[in-house]
């Protein structure tokens, strides 16, 4: 493993349908750290999450992203996933007729194959799944339900975290995982994420509200506004934002 940071974003510019959303984003993340990206609606937070995962609708117009020293933007979405980049979606999609456990096994085997490891059969995989569920303290109630079909908002978000647990990424991006969750669901999800923190795993937590960060304590907080990072700091920055809102930063950015 190289000494390069886990993730190094330099002057990233991104557009969708000709409209520029990100206008020069810089961010460096080391292994084992938790970074929170906060910002008002429309600031480009989710765009950043989608671009890192390789969503084809976005065009990178300038800048670079290096992941463990490699050019991340050069990889297809599935290659990024197999190399350990995971995005917990804000709006997970439904896949009719395919059970969660089958879907997860397909994903795990795609990743294992990429690493040159033998694929897991249904029995072996079941064991892996149960171990993961135990580790995060959940039961197996939705393993045999179709992927996200008929799931409540909270169940969909939990399902994303379960996938995170099973796929064992190096870089986990959580895109507004707290949105639409009541306080109990939020605690459950945050509790699971905390159990998944590791020295070799970095988290990028995208959120509009500070309340998620009451449960997942970040090492760094960054504020994104109008497609630029306008402020970075420690966990205390989140509390400041909670108290003052985002406007003072935006004004500050203009003045600066």
């Amino acid at each position: 493993m190289s000494d390069a940071p886990m993730l190094a974003i330099r002057d990233l510019h991104v557009a969708i349908n000709g409209t520029e959303i990100l206008r020069g984003v810089d961010l460096t993340m080391d292994r084992g750290t938790v970074h929170a990206i906060m910002g008002p609606n429309g600031s480009g937070k989710s765009t950043l999450a989608q671009v890192l995962a390789g969503h084809p609708a976005y065009q990178v117009t300038a800048g670079s992203v290096r992941y463990e020293g490699r050019d991340l933007l050069d990889l297809d979405p599935e290659e990024r996933a197999r190399e350990g980049v995971f995005l917990a979606f804000q709006y997970p999609v439904e896949v009719r007729g395919i059970t969660n456990s089958y879907f997860l096994r397909s994903a795990v085997n795609a990743i294992r194959k990429h690493r040159g490891e033998p694929e897991l059969d249904a029995m072996d995989f079941l064991q892996v799944l149960e171990d993961k569920l135990t580790a995060i303290g959940w039961d197996d109630s939705f393993l045999n339900r179709p992927v996200n079909e008929g799931f409540s908002g909270g169940e969909k978000k939990r399902n994303e975290i379960l996938q995170l647990a099973v796929l064992e990424p190096k870089l986990a991006i959580l895109d507004e995982t707290d949105s639409g969750l009541d306080i109990d669901a939020l605690k459950t999800v945050a509790g699971a994420v905390n159990k998944l923190r590791r020295p070799d795993r970095a988290f990028l937590v995208v959120t509009h509200y500070q309340r998620l960060l009451d449960y997942i304590t970040p090492d760094f907080v960054h504020v994104l506004a109008d497609g630029r990072m306008v402020r970075s700091g420690g966990p205390e920055l989140a509390h400041e934002l909670e108290a003052k809102g985002y406007d003072w930063l935006r004004d500050g950015a203009v003045v600066a």
Partner: protein, 477 residues
């Protein structure tokens, strides 16, 4: 073309041609041609009479054009109605089958040498107008099951054929059925005696090879009281620029407590991207649940043909009889399909289930057309229909025409329909979990078709999966 569409539009893999010396009757249709076919088949006089009667009805009928498909006029005089590989005297055993034919079927994944048996499956292989081999006949005969080419059944089992042929699909049923009744050449005949559970899966594989010919096959399956049979047909044809006509008739009869499970994997040549060539698949399939508590179940996976026009149906005559129709129809490139089912409820407490999955890609047009008819005497009849359409890309179309005709107030009808589209977001989600775009499409299509695939016999579920390029969810095994 989007990346998703590209995944679905796989090249046709069965387009090769077998170079074999064939005897082909010159194009054209008249009473002399029919006499010639009948003579070649060594048929009794009653059969020839039946053919001529059908022909005389056909000349007065007009080709139907109510289906939601478009094609140019068909010149029935430009088609050859009989093509057969040349061969010596009658074959005494399978080992005498022309090696070129054996090789052809092998290439198609259909072993006709018994030692290479497909687990538990007996095969009748039909090449152009003739059956070239039928496997495991001796084994089947031990339990009294007759499985042979229909041309042979006409000679060897005339009483059964006379009693049942045309009893479900009469010659004047429709234009294509009349044409088939006049000129049909081969196909399979199955009779399962009382109380016998057929020990093997029965299967017929239809291969069109010769140019400028039509294939007119005829299948007749009779399940006597308390018997069970599962039958599967598969088909393919070489890649050609011109269209070829395939007009088949299939008749099923189930007596008291008998069950017939009829599965189709249809993969006729679909034509090319520009819509050149391909098979016109104009088929009449119907089953009669004649007896009480009888059951007929149709399962079809339709991926081929330039144009498909077929409505496998059930006449639910016996009280408490059951009809089922499970269908996956795929149209891509410029394929057009107008397919569905007819469930005619006559008996009391008859039940029918319809599950139709249409997948359209490229510039394909997919139409579901179904009729559920509950007649006066059908007290307590029930129907459940589900029609789902999936669109891939934005140049294709899906259409649904459910006809419901209820004449008994005690009937229960349920109908559900949905239309969905595979979107870039869905594909992206699956790719983000490490699946290739191709596997992502497969997974989505597989999930969409699951209710139909699970109805296929296990050996053929794998075939269907291969056809659609789909990895079957752990359900196999």
């Amino acid at each position: 073309m989007t990346s998703i569409e590209a995944q679905v539009l796989q090249p046709y893999k069965y387009g090769f041609e077998t170079n074999i010396e064939s005897e082909i009757v010159p194009p054209g249709l008249n009473e002399d041609v029919i006499r010639l076919i009948s003579t070649k088949k060594g048929e009794p006089e009653w059969m020839l009479e039946g053919r001529l009667k059908a022909y005389r009805q056909w000349v007065r009928m007009t080709e139907p054009h109510w289906a939601n498909v478009r094609y140019g006029p068909i010149d029935y005089q430009a088609i050859s109605y009989y093509a057969a590989p040349k061969r010596g005297p009658e074959l005494k055993s399978l080992s005498e089958v022309d090696p070129k034919l054996v090789e052809t079927f092998e290439k198609l994944g259909i072993p006709i040498e018994e030692q290479k048996r497909l687990a538990g499956v007996a095969v009748d292989a039909v090449f152009d107008s003739v059956s070239v081999a039928t496997t495991f006949r001796a084994e089947l005969a031990k339990s009294g099951v007759i499985f042979c080419p229909i041309s042979e059944a006409i000679r060897e089992h005339p009483d059964l054929v006379r009693e049942y042929l045309g009893s479900v699909v009469p010659a004047n049923d429709n234009f294509f059925a009349a044409l088939n009744s006049a000129v049909f050449t081969d196909g399979s005949f199955v009779y399962v005696p009382k109380g016998v559970r057929c020990p093997l899966e029965l299967s017929t594989y239809f291969r069109i090879n010769a140019r400028a010919t039509g294939q007119f096959e005829r299948t007749l399956i009779i399940a006597d009281a308390g018997s069970y049979v599962s039958y599967l047909e598969g088909c393919s044809a070489p890649t050609r620029d011109e269209n070829q006509l395939h007009a088949a008739v299939v008749e099923l009869v189930a007596h008291d407590d008998a069950t017939i499970k009829y599965s189709t994997i249809q993969n006729w040549y679909p034509g090319d991207e520009a819509g050149r060539g391909g098979i016109y698949n104009f088929v009449t399939k119907r089953g009669k649940c004649a007896g009480r508590r009888s059951k007929i179940s149709w399962t079809q996976v339709e991926t081929g043909s330039a144009i498909t026009w077929k409505y496998p149906g059930c006449i639910l005559q016996g009280d408490d009889s059951i009809g089922e129709f499970y269908s996956v129809a795929v149209t891509s490139q410029r394929q057009q399909a107008d397919t569905g089912t007819k469930m005619i409820h006559l008996g009391r407490n008859t039940r029918s289930t319809i599950v139709s999955k249409g997948i359209s890609a490229g510039q394909g047009q997919n139409t579901y057309r179904g009729l559920v008819k509950i007649l006066k005497g059908a007290d307590g009849a029930r129907n459940y229909s589900q029609c789902d359409s999936m669109l891939i890309g934005d140049r294709c179309g899906a259409h649904t025409f459910p006809y419901i005709d209820v004449r008994n107030s005690t009937a229960t009808m349920e109908h559900e329909a949905s239309t969905s589209k595979i979107g870039e977001d869905q594909i992206f989600y699956l790719r983000q979990r490490g699946l290739s775009a191709e596997d992502a499409v497969s997974l989505i299509v597989n999930g969409f078709c699951k209710e139909v695939f699970r109805e296929l016999p296990m050996e053929f579920a794998v075939e269907a999966q291969r056809l659609l390029g789909i990895s079957l969810e752990g359900s196999v095994g």
